[in-house]
C-alpha cells in the first residue's frame, strides 16, 4: 500500500520539528502520534557509519507505507563531505518525503548543490520538479556569516535552523543558561531569515529532564521571533505548542484586524481604525492571520475565521 503525500506547503506552521532515528522502525512507524508539526527522520548523526544503507532502506519503506497524515516529513541527509548524501537524496525523493534538511550548510553553493541533485532525482523518479522542499541547518560560524546568501539560494528553501552542538564547539563555548553563547548566531540567523522571507528554527535542547531550562529557552525563542524549534524528545512537543499559543487577548485583537481588513478591503479602503482607535493597514494582516493560524493549531480557537 503506497500513500502518496500531497504537495508540501512551503510556508506551513512548523512550531515543533522532532528528530527521529530513521533506522528505528519502532520510532518512525508512527512518529506522527505525538503531534509535532514536522518530524525529521535522521540519516546523519543518529545512524552509525556502517548502517547508512539499512537506515535508507527502512526510511524508504516507512515513507512508502506509513500514512503520516498532516505531519510534515523531513529527512536529514548526510553532509556534502560524505559519500552518502547523493544516495540519501535519491531515497528521499523516491520515497516522497516533503523535504530535506541539509546538515552543516556553509554557503549558498551547498544549497545549490543539493537543489541540483534533488532536481535530478525528481526527474529520475518522475516526481514533479520543485516538489521537494529544502531547509538548511547552519552549524558553524562560517554558515552564520553566510546566512543571508544561504537563505536566498533556492526557491525550494523554506527556512534555516541554527544547530548548537557543532556551533558551540567551533566557538569554544559550552551551553550557558540564558544562551549568551548562542546570542550572536541566533540573532544573525533570524535577521537573515526574515530579510530573505524564510522561516527560522532554533537548536535542540538536549537535557530532557530539565523542564524549567527548556521552558526558559523556548520563552527566549518566542521573544526573539523564532518560528519553531528542533526537538529531541516527544515530551517537549506540548510544552512548545503551549508556549507558542497566543493569548485570548492576542486572538481577539487578531480577529478584529482580520475582520476589519476584509470589510474595508471589499470597499477598497487600505487604512482603517479598529475598536479602541488603533490605526491598521495591510501590513498588520499577515501577523494577525498568523495568530489565528497558531490559535487553531493550538486547539484554542473558537471563532469562525
Amino acid at each position: 500500500m503506497s500513500i502518496p503525500r500531497p504537495k508540501p506547503e512551503k510556508f506551513r506552521l512548523r512550531r515543533t520539528m522532532m528528530f527521529m532515528n530513521a533506522q528505528k522502525p519502532g520510532l518512525i512507524k508512527d512518529a506522527y502520534i505525538y503531534g509535532a508539526d514536522s518530524i525529521m527522520l535522521d540519516l546523519e548523526d543518529a545512524v552509525a557509519e556502517n548502517q547508512k544503507d539499512s537506515a535508507r532502506f527502512s526510511l524508504y519503506h516507512a515513507l512508502k507505507e506509513i500514512d503520516y497524515g498532516d505531519t510534515e516529513v523531513i529527512v536529514r541527509i548526510n553532509g556534502l563531505d560524505t559519500p552518502h548524501w547523493k544516495e540519501d537524496i535519491r531515497v528521499v525523493v523516491a520515497g516522497g518525503a516533503d523535504g530535506i534538511r541539509i546538515a552543516k550548510t556553509e554557503s549558498a553553493q551547498d544549497v545549490k548543490t543539493v537543489d541540483a541533485a534533488v532536481t535530478e532525482a525528481e526527474k529520475e523518479f518522475g516526481v514533479e520538479v520543485g516538489r521537494t522542499l529544502l531547509m538548511a541547518a547552519v552549524e558553524s560560524p562560517k554558515g552564520v556569516l553566510n546566512a543571508y546568501e544561504i537563505c536566498t539560494a533556492s526557491p525550494r528553501l523554506f527556512g534555516v535552523a541554527i544547530s548548537g552542538g557543532d556551533y558551540r564547539k567551533c566557538m569554544q563555548v559550552k551551553v550557558i543558561p540564558g544562551g549568551i553563547e548562542m546570542l550572536a548566531a541566533r540573532g544573525h540567523l533570524l535577521v537573515a531569515a526574515r530579510a530573505a522571507g524564510v522561516q527560522c528554527f532554533d537548536t535542540v535542547f538536549t537535557n530532557i529532564n530539565d523542564d524549567e531550562g527548556f521552558r526558559a529557552e523556548v520563552k527566549q525563542n518566542v521573544e526573539m521571533g523564532f518560528d519553531g524549534k528542533s526537538l529531541v524528545n516527544p515530551r517537549q512537543i506540548n510544552i512548545v505548542h503551549e508556549m507558542l499559543a497566543p493569548t485570548p487577548k492576542e486572538i481577539a485583537e487578531a480577529e478584529k484586524i482580520v475582520r476589519a481588513y476584509r470589510e474595508h478591503a471589499a470597499e477598497g479602503v487600505g487604512v482603517f481604525t479598529i475598536e479602541g482607535g488603533k490605526m491598521i493597514d495591510i501590513a498588520f494582516v499577515p501577523g494577525a492571520e498568523r495568530v489565528i493560524k497558531l490559535a487553531k493549531a493550538s486547539g484554542i480557537y473558537e471563532g469562525d475565521l
Partner: protein, 523 residues
Amino acid sequence: MKNAVGREIPEELLNSGLRNGKGYEVYQGKGYRDGKYIKKQGPTTKIYQKPSESKILPSIREAVIKSGLKDGMTVSFHHHFRDGDYIVNMVMKEIVDLGIKDITIAASSLGSAHDPIADYIEQGIVTGIQTSGIRGRMGDVVSHGKLKTPAILRSHGGRVRAVEEGDVHIDVAFIGAPTCDEYGNARALGGKSDCGVLSYAVPDSEYADKVVVITDTLVPYPNFPASIHGINVDYVVKVDEIGNPKKIASAAARMTQNPRDLMMAENVAKIMTSTPWFKDGFSFQTGAGGPSLAVNRFLEPLMVERGIKMAWAIGGITGPICELQRKGLVGKIIDVQDFDVAAIEDIRTNPNHYEMTASEYANPANKGAFVNKLDFVVLAALEVDIDFNVNVITGSDGVLRGAPGGHPDTAEGAKCCIIVTPLTRGRMATICEKVVTVTTPGDCVDVVVTDYGLSVNPKRQDIIECLDKAGIKHVPIKELQEKAYSMVGKPDDLQWKDKVVAILEARDGTILDVVREIKPYEM
C-alpha cells in the same frame, strides 16, 4: 443463551450446580441486582470457651490434619505475597502428601509462583479452581482442558460476594501472615516478609469453617491492631519462610520514561480535568502499570494549578500516590494491596494511610463499598472491543493469563472509568472488533485512551460534552479499531473446542462469559 454483552452462554452451565448447587443466571447488565436481598451464609465454627494458652501447631501437615480437611473440600489462600508466595505450594504439598484429593482451591488470586498446582491439576488431585488471576503453567493446563470442572474467575469484589452468599464455601482457609501471635491475631507488618495489608484474606477468616494462620514471625500477644483477628482463627503454624520478600514487594514503582506511555497518561489527566468530578475532594484509583501509574505525575500540576486536593485514593497502592499525599495533595489513602516497598513503608508510618477489607473495597453485595464512591478509575486492558467490552484474562492465543482483579468492580463503581492502552502490542490490535473474553462489560467502561487517539462510550454523552467543551478531540471507537487493523491486520478467529474450561462471573454472580478449551492453531 445470549447475555447482555452478546455472549453465548451454554444452557447446561446454568443448572450445572457449579454455583455451590445453585443455578446461574446470565449477565443482565450493570446494576442488575441492586436493591435485592441476600442471606449471608456463615461458617460452622468451633467454640473455644475454655481458656487456653496457645493455638500453635508444629507444622503445616499437623494443621491440615487437625483442620479435618478431607476429599472434595475447598481450601482458600490470599495473594498479598504476589510472586513471592510460598504458602500455596507448601500447603498443597502437604495436602497431596496426605493423599487428600478432589480439592478445590478458592484463592483471591493465583500467579506464576504457583506453577506446581498445574501438576496437581494434571494428576486430578486439584479438581476445582476459583480465583481472580490465573497465569503461567496453571493457565496453560486449564486452557487445555485438564481441570475437571470449569475454573470460576471472579473480580475481587465478586469473590467476597460469592463467599458471603455461599456460592463458594471455604472449608479451610490457609492465611499467610507476616506476623502473628499465639492466638491468631495477624498483621502484615513487623515481620521478615511484610506485605502491608491482609485485606483479601479477611473474608476467608470470617467465612471459612476452619482458619489456619501461617507465619514466619511469631510476636507477643496481642498482635494489634490486627488485620486477621484471633477470634476467627483455629490454628497458628510457624514456618521458616512464608515468602520471598524481594518478590512480595517490588522495588519502588518507577515512573515510565516511555514517551508513548507519558503521552497517554497526560491525555488521561486532561480528560479527568475536563469533567465535573475533577474538583476539590475528588476520589481516585489508578493501576500500577506504566501509563496508569504515570497519570499521578500529570495530575499533580493540574491539581496545584486549580488549587484542589484529592480527598482519598484507593486500590492497589504504589509509592507515587503516597508521595502525592506527602505533598499535601491527597487526604487519605485507603489500601487493599501494596505493590511496592514504598507503599508498605508508607502504611507502616503514615497515620492517614489505612487498611481496608476486600469487602469494603469492592463487594457489590454489601451496603456500599468504596468503589461506589469513586470518581475516577484509570485501568489497563489487554483488549477493548468496539462495544467497549474489556478483556484482561485471555491472551491473543486464547490461553488464560491474567486477572480481572478489581477491574470490573472499580469500572462499575466509578463515575468515570478510563481505560488506557496502546492501540497495538507487537502485531496484535488492542482495540478490536470482539474481545476474546469479556471480563469487564462495556456498559461500565466510559473512555478509552490510546496512543492514536481516544474514544468515549456513546452511553456517556455527558463526558462527550465535557471533552468537546474542553477541545479534547475524540473519535468513534470503530475508527481506532479500523486504524489498528489497518496497521497490523485483522487477526484470524481463535479456534476452540466445545468444552468450557472457565466461567467469567460478573461481579454480581451472573455469567459474563465463558472460556473454552483451546484448539491448537491450524492454518
